[in-house]
């Protein structure tokens, strides 16, 4: 028994470090997953300016329809990478709500005019507070909000085709199945 002790200790350390290698310490998951959307209210984007009469609030969710909540910005390069996939999702009839993070409304509008607008509506998070409220640590991030207004999933960073097929679509369908979501 004593003879194997160094080997056992070595194996334990090696396993621990091995697991550590597979972790991504730069990705800090939101602790909001599994919780309802926090209360918020931000102005909507309307023709390149903020719409002072209409807000995007947490009450716009939880109406029995599953939505994607996508945090983007015109200054964000990875957002351009995932944009075609969002366009495809929108074309397939999924509801996507955009949050323009710390972005000039004019720039957000230009971004959407150039690349296409996949969003049902876009909330303006001018000071970044909404991002903090839902637990984002950067842009882009994508959340799935189910029909009950619960955050069921968070993806940090841009969506690539693999994530799209393996993570987003199945979870979106699952959330729709559980809480409704067809138009």
């Amino acid at each position: 028994m004593m003879r194997f002790l160094p080997l056992i200790v070595f194996s334990l350390i090696a396993t621990g470090l091995g697991i550590g290698l597979t972790l991504k310490p730069t990705i800090i998951p939101s602790a909001m997953v599994g919780k309802p959307l926090p209360q918020f209210s931000v102005a909507l984007l309307k023709d390149g300016v903020s719409d002072d009469d209409n807000n995007l609030t947490h009450r716009d969710f939880a109406d029995g329809k599953t939505r994607l909540l996508n945090v983007f910005a015109s200054w964000c390069q990875p957002c351009r990478i995932e944009h075609p996939l969002l366009m495809q999702l929108a074309a397939d009839g999924h509801l996507i709500v955009g949050i323009a993070s710390k972005d000039d409304p004019t720039d957000s509008q230009k971004f959407l005019d150039q690349l296409g607008d996949p969003y049902k509506n876009v909330g303006l998070d001018l000071d970044g507070r909404l991002g903090i409220a839902i637990g984002t640590s950067g842009v882009p991030e994508t959340f799935i909000i189910d029909g009950n207004g619960m955050i069921t999933y968070q993806h940090i960073g841009y969506i690539d085709t693999l994530t799209f097929k393996q993570e987003i679509l199945p979870r979106l369908e699952a959330a729709k199945h559980a809480t409704g979501g067809q138009e």
Binding site: M2, L5, S30, A31, V49, K102, D104, G128, I132, G135
Partner: protein
């Protein structure tokens, strides 16, 4: 004469180059002055970071910020980070201090969103008990190993099994005396 004109012309071309560089520099300086203004003019809410008016409260806030981890930097407190995200959190924290919230209340808000990760000193919980007790566990393990080894040695000594090392055979004794005698001779 030729040389002189040559030098002169090269001088004037140098002056031209420098004036172009100068003009470019001026242009960029002008740009940096223009950009923030145009951003503000178009309605982007750029929050300004400034210390709290109450010096004592500012001190409290600063101390508190030393314990809040920056989300986009590796293992740096927001108090010492230049990251945009850290700045946003500092402004948020100052605002909450000014609203009379306590450290615990602000931590509760942050932990609800980012988990214990956001705290530089993760609290003792069902997830972190192993982390906090690791030093003591390792110390106990070391003690156990030392104790087991001593017990093993004692058992061997009792059985007389490690005696051969201290008791020489007749042949070894003879060799030893031979070597010692040789030493005397030389």
């Amino acid at each position: 004469m030729m040389t002189y004109t040559y030098v002169n012309s090269s001088l004037s071309s140098k002056t031209a180059v420098f004036s172009v560089i100068g003009a470019l520099l001026l242009f960029f300086v002008a740009l940096t002055l223009l950009v923030p203004q145009s951003v503000n003019a178009q309605g982007l809410k750029v929050l300004e970071e400034k210390p709290l008016p109450d010096a004592e409260m500012e001190q409290r806030a600063r101390t508190y910020m030393k314990g809040i981890r920056c989300l986009v930097c590796q293992n740096q407190a927001i108090e010492e980070s230049d990251a945009d995200m850290a700045r946003d959190l500092r402004i948020l924290i100052r605002e909450r201090f000014a609203n009379g919230e306590t450290e615990a209340q602000i931590s509760a808000y942050l932990v609800e969103r980012y988990g214990d990760w956001i705290l530089m000193n993760p609290p003792l919980s069902s997830k972190t008990w192993l982390l906090w007790s690791a030093p003591f566990l390792i110390f106990l393990l070391a003690l156990t190993i030392v104790w087991l080894r001593r017990k093993e040695t004692k058992a061997l000594v009792a059985k007389g099994q490690n005696m051969p090392q201290t008791q020489l055979s007749a042949e070894e004794k003879k060799r030893l005396t031979d070597i010692l005698n040789q030493g005397d001779n030389t």
